[in-house]
Amino acid sequence: MEENEHIRLITRHLSRETSSEEEASLRQWLEGDPAHRQQFDALRNVWDTSGDVIRDMPFDTAAAWEKIAPSPPPPSVRRSPTPLRLLSPRLVAAASVLLALCIAAGWYYLTRQHPLQQVIAAADNQQLTLPDGSKVWLRKGAGLKYQDPFNKGLREVQLTGEAFFQPISDPARPFRIRTIHGAIEDIGTTFLVRDRDSMDEVFVITGKVKLTTGEDPSQSLVLSSGQKATILKNKLSPSDWGTPNMMSWKTGALEFRQTPLDQVVQDINDHFGSQLNIAPGLEVEKIKITARFDHQHLDQVLDEIKLLTGLHIIRIKDTLLFVRQ
């Protein structure tokens, strides 16, 4: 698309003039290149800000209304107490019940507009569908806050803990996840976010994701599928994918292929929340494991590993320790 052509298209989009074909072609253009997305965001921001600054001169609407209000003003039921005195006590009682109902309904309606939803996966992993149809899988212990419906122009959620996201693609309304460490913006994709105490880890399964740190939003990083990055102390850094088991809490499956024991232990701990450890002096690098566990209990997994490695397990308080006999 030529420079002018896409500005024309974006302007049409912002002016709500686009047909569905034009929307589709805009979406395609946006997904083609992260730079396109940036251009789009810049233009949309000019648009939004201009709408704001042009009407910021204050005028006293109430005073003006007093000046031009047509006369005679209509009789106001609320303002005159006289008719009520003529009514029977029963009618008054009925009216006050009705009034109370109206207030309740009004309150419900008002708060229903953009109530803050808070979901905490307390007992187990939990799947939920957001107001726009996007899907989220919360790992047990994770929490998500969002407005229902989403605020205009932006789909934003606040995450604590670990979750897998499958957002509906909508170039006009970015899907953004905030954590205490930064923001993660989806560019049409599925991805996993681990918000830990010290840092965030983001794994991109398909598509692209943009990361920004909490402190400095000009610092950003775009990740493509198969890439992983961490947000740590306001630093963004690409990192090794590490384990293939980061989704095990969602899939229920743990898979090891010639995986060193220390990584196996780490994945098992991550999956089961167990406190498994390796006795000092064991040559973990040399002990490699190939196995697949599907929805199995910790005991079954450990038995299998004992069998494969010839190691034993001893218990010290809450910790399980792999030892050589």
Binding site: N4, I7, R8, I10, T11, R12, L14, S15, R16, E17, D41, A42, L43, N45, V46, W47, T49, S50, G51, D52, V53, I54, R55, D56, M57, P58, F59, T61, A64, W65, K67, I68, A69, P70, P72, P73, P74, P75, T212, P217, S218
Partner: protein, 181 residues
């Protein structure tokens, strides 16, 4: 007052409360005189109540309001020009003079708007104030729909270049972030 009349009164008041501030700001983009702007907008509303009550409660009221306010602004400017021979060009006041912007970015966006060519700015402002369709804007300004589209595209393009040239291309991200906190 009949029920119809009362409904109409409330709808009229509602339209007034919705549009008064916006229309005054719109008028100010032509007439740089606050009091004159308020008089113009109030008069347009009074006219609706007295002469065009059928517009009240319809979608058409917006189109009428913006078109009438603009026409009256232009009449006012013509009158003002006649009466002040000493000041032939009406000394273009600066839009930013009495406003302190919250952020550098907002200030730059305002300058970018002021910097647009007059016709382009007029089309863009009407669109941003009224949120009308290209077709309605074309009707209101008596130009073709194609011209509206060209001017809108041009406006955004020029504003973006202006901001880029002034080095605030990236500042918006920061602004956005701070405001959303």
């Amino acid at each position: 007052m009949s029920t119809d009349k009362r409904d109409s009164y409330y709808l009229f008041q509602q339209a007034f409360e919705t549009w008064y501030g916006t229309l005054c700001n719109y008028a100010y983009s032509y007439v740089r005189d606050r009091n004159a702007c308020e008089d113009i907008v109030q008069e347009v509303f009074t006219r609706i109540w007295e002469d065009r009550p059928q517009l009240i409660g319809t979608e058409g009221i917006r189109y009428y309001l913006f078109t009438a306010v603009r026409n009256n602004c232009i009449s006012w400017l013509r009158q003002a020009k006649k009466h002040s021979a000493a000041d032939p060009d009406g000394a273009q006041p600066v839009y930013i003079e009495h406003r302190r912007e919250q952020t550098e970015y907002r200030a730059m966006v305002r300058q970018a708007i002021d910097n647009l060519p007059p016709r382009c700015r007029e089309v863009f402002l009407l669109s941003r104030f009224s949120n009308m369709t290209y077709k309605e804007i074309a009707g209101s300004l008596d130009i073709s729909e194609k011209t509206v589209e060209n001017q809108m595209t041009k406006a955004l393009k020029l504003m973006r270049s202006f901001l880029k040239d002034h080095g605030v291309y990236l500042a918006w991200a920061l602004t956005n972030f701070l405001l959303s906190k």
